[in-house]
């Protein structure tokens, strides 16, 4: 589904990603862990096509296409979804309007018929149960005045409505209390199928108690220095990131 080869990227002239290699197949959940500033969010941003990041080397294949040639909206329409670490507020635009515009943009891209208001409302109300959201959220402006937990749940709601093939969750656990974490994680789990995949970017192991990854990758200073199964996350939790930082050498091989 996704193949990242020797990806280098920089922001404002500073190199952040220094040769990322990663392969994600349908049905897999990959966790990307790492200390602050290691390039986790940059990787998520580059994949989603955020403009501030400049790819200087390497390639990314997404479902057989050169991902880097697609503009951000096209990537989204092709089934790539980024759950934002800091969901953006859009004052005056209702959640319903935004969600419907998004879903219909994606459907239009695929030559599918656009949803009318009635069908859309039925769909979205069904999806809201997944993240235990009250229907009153539909009429509120996008993320405006939402608590941290509500914003993250709203991200998962959008994910549920858009039904992406590859979801990238960028520190979705940050700022969540344990109840919100459970709701968000359970939403993600319910949406997981053998046909789709997820990349879960997180600093802490605790999210991985709820969303169990097939693979864990440790990102340090712009490179994946270690990959393993879910147990690697426990090791990190127990020992901190210091011991993996030592693995960071020019010769460090990635799996």
């Amino acid at each position: 589904m996704l193949e990242i080869r020797n990806l280098h990227a920089r922001v404002e002239g500073k190199e952040i990603l220094k040769g990322i290699n990663l392969t994600v197949n349908p049905g897999e959940i990959h966790a990307i862990m790492g200390p602050n500033g290691s390039g986790k969010s940059t990787l998520a941003g580059v994949l989603a096509g955020r403009e501030i990041y400049e790819v200087t080397e390497g390639e990314v294949l997404y479902r057989g296409q050169n991902l880097l040639e697609l503009d951000p909206a096209a990537r989204a329409c092709e089934g790539m979804f980024l759950a934002f670490q800091y969901p953006v507020e859009i004052p005056g635009v209702s959640n319903t309007y935004f969600l419907k515009a998004a879903l219909n943009a994606v459907r239009k891209y695929h030559g599918e018929e656009e949803y009318d208001s009635f069908d859309f409302l039925a769909l979205v109300k069904e999806k809201m149960k997944l993240v235990e959201m009250d229907p009153s959220f539909l009429n509120r402006p996008v993320n405006e005045g939402f608590s941290g937990g509500e914003k993250k749940r709203n991200e998962i709601l959008q994910m549920a409505v858009l039904n992406p093939l590859l979801s990238i969750l960028d520190e979705t656990d940050s700022g969540l209390d344990i109840d919100a974490l459970r709701i968000v994680a359970s939403g993600v789990n319910k949406l997981h199928t053998p046909d789709n995949a997820a990349i879960v970017v997180t600093h802490y192991q605790r999210l991985l108690d709820y969303i169990v990854p097939d693979f864990v990758h440790v990102l340090v200073n712009g490179r994946i220095v270690k990959s393993g199964d879910k147990d690697l996350a426990f090791d990190l939790e127990a020992q901190g990131y210091d011991w993996v930082k030592d693995l960071e050498e020019p010769t460090a091989e990635t799996v």
């Binding site: 403009e51 953006v88 935004f98």
Partner: protein, 481 residues
């Protein structure tokens, strides 16, 4: 440049959608202004003596006045002797029905999306169409007549209802009020007149589409709307204009009078030619709009969506004279390319327990300058007066400007005044967020801006709101990148 920016850039290049000129022979008075020209206009319109005197008085006042330059706008000096002050489509007699109207004129309306023929059947909106300066078609008159509502061109009102015109003309905006109002009072050619009698609720939105057409002809519309005791009327004003190479002056005057318990809602969507990318050829819009809440518990509400004109100088205001009267001003002003807008409102509280609300949304893009200028004045006797003002500005790009000049003058200690102001930049992160959900940059900008303006749009009548949203999208195409 990013792909999004390029896409948007491409769209900016679009020609003004409503730019076309109708080829109709005009009956135009030679350029220049003098007492003789005013007498000629008055004679052509077969006006009564008192109106001619009223015009001449205005002209004499105007001669002593100087053009105001306090607004935050710049433009080359206007030669008032190089303007033709009267232009009427040549027609032998006033048309009795739409069939008698010049077909080419009707075609123009079709292009603008105002199918007059259909409107008669569709109901809901009566259109008093002002083409250049003389009304050529009025619909729904009979229906309104049954209710005693007068809705006609200003010239017709002078002929048919001189007592009403004489009683209210200049009662809100006197001849010498300001430079442009004085000029308008001297030379106004036509406009609309509405009178809603006591206790009558006008069952439909009254609508006038203004259109500037004759080359080099200044437009001087005069609108007077009177709502008698307990009456209600909602009036819509919308306009587009053809592409021009020279600047066109427009100096209209709108007067609203609400007597006891009456309510007037006045909505405008203004889309005059803003000039090309370099600001060449756009309309100069120097308008005086003012309403007087003369009676107790009366209410006047202005809602405007300003997207056009090269220069906008406009302050729809309310004089809150009656006790418990209410004034409202909801405004969206969009400037792009080289447009300049200096707009806002004045709320003058005279009566007791009067209240006013101001919601202004300014959006600047390109190299434009967008200024909010507002005044809230609480007079000594206005016990318990209240005002709430909210002025929000949004910037798109880094070459435009947003300015806010709120003036507050309070002479009564029991008054409550609130003022909120924000300035924001349309966020790249907002656009990216939309992009990441599959929404194109163009649609994203549209959505974000419409969200920003929502508080104003919801004050507009439904059909107008839809039009306004589309207009906003068109006006801002190509402004992010």
């Amino acid at each position: 440049m990013s792909t999004d920016a390029q896409d948007l850039e491409k769209l900016t290049g679009q020609e003004y959608k409503y730019g076309f000129v109708t080829d109709i022979e005009s009956d135009t008075v030679p350029k220049g202004l003098s007492e003789d020209v005013i007498r000629m206009i008055s004679a052509k319109k077969e006006e009564p003596e008192w109106l001619l005197e009223w015009r001449l008085k205005a002209y004499r006042m105007w001669l002593k006045m100087v053009e105001p330059h306090w607004a935050n706008v710049e433009y080359p000096a206007i030669d008032y002797q190089d303007i033709s002050y009267y232009s009427a489509p040549k027609q032998k007699a006033a048309p009795k029905s739409l069939d008698e109207v010049d077909p080419e004129l009707l075609a123009t309306y079709e292009k603008l999306g105002i199918p007059l023929r259909e409107q008669e059947m569709l109901a809901g909106v009566a259109v008093d169409a002002v083409f250049d300066s003389v009304s050529v078609a009025t619909t729904f008159k009979d229906k309104l007549k049954d209710l005693g509502i007068v809705f006609c061109s200003f010239s017709e009102a002078v002929r048919e209802h001189p007592e009403l015109v004489q009683r209210f003309l200049g009662s809100v905006v006197p001849q010498g009020d300001n430079f442009y109002a004085a000029l308008n009072s001297a030379v106004f050619t036509d406009g609309s007149f509405v009178y809603v009698p006591k206790g009558v609720r006008c069952p439909m939105e009254l609508s006038t589409y203004f259109r500037i057409n004759s080359l080099g002809t200044g437009q001087f519309e005069r609108t007077l709307i009177v709502a008698d005791e307990g009456a209600y009327v909602s009036y819509l004003e919308g306009c587009t204009a053809p592409v021009r190479d020279e600047n066109q002056l427009h100096a209209a005057v709108v007067e609203l009078v609400a007597l006891d318990n009456a309510e007037i809602k006045y909505s405008t969507v203004q889309n005059w030619y803003p000039g090309d990318k370099d600001g060449k050829g756009g309309i100069y819009n120097f308008v005086t709009k003012r309403g007087k809440c003369a009676g107790v518990r009366s209410k006047i509400s202005w809602t405007q969506v300003e997207t056009g004109s090269s220069i906008t100088w406009k302050y729809p205001s309310c004089i809150l004279q009656g006790d418990h009267s209410v004034g409202e001003f909801y405004s969206v002003a969009v400037t792009n390319n080289r447009q300049q807008a200096d707009t806002g409102t004045k709320m003058i509280h005279i009566g007791k327990n009067t209240s006013s609300t101001i919601v202004s949304k300014g959006i600047s893009a390109g190299h434009s300058q967008n200024t909010y200028r507002g005044q809230v004045k609480i007079m000594k006797g206005a016990d318990g007066a209240r005002n709430f003002s909210q002025c929000d500005s949004m910037l798109m790009g880094d070459k435009c400007g947003a300015h806010t000049f709120p003036y507050i003058e309070n002479r009564n200690s029991s008054a409550q005044l609130e003022h909120e102001a924000t300035t924001s930049k349309i966020g790249e992160d907002q656009i990216f967020y939309c992009n990441q959900r599959g929404i194109s940059s163009e649609d994203a900008v549209n959505m974000i801006v419409n969200g920003f303006c929502k508080e104003v749009f919801r004050e507009l009548p439904m059909e107008f709101a839809v039009e306004a949203q589309k207009l906003l999208g068109i006006s801002l195409e190509g402004s992010v990148g």
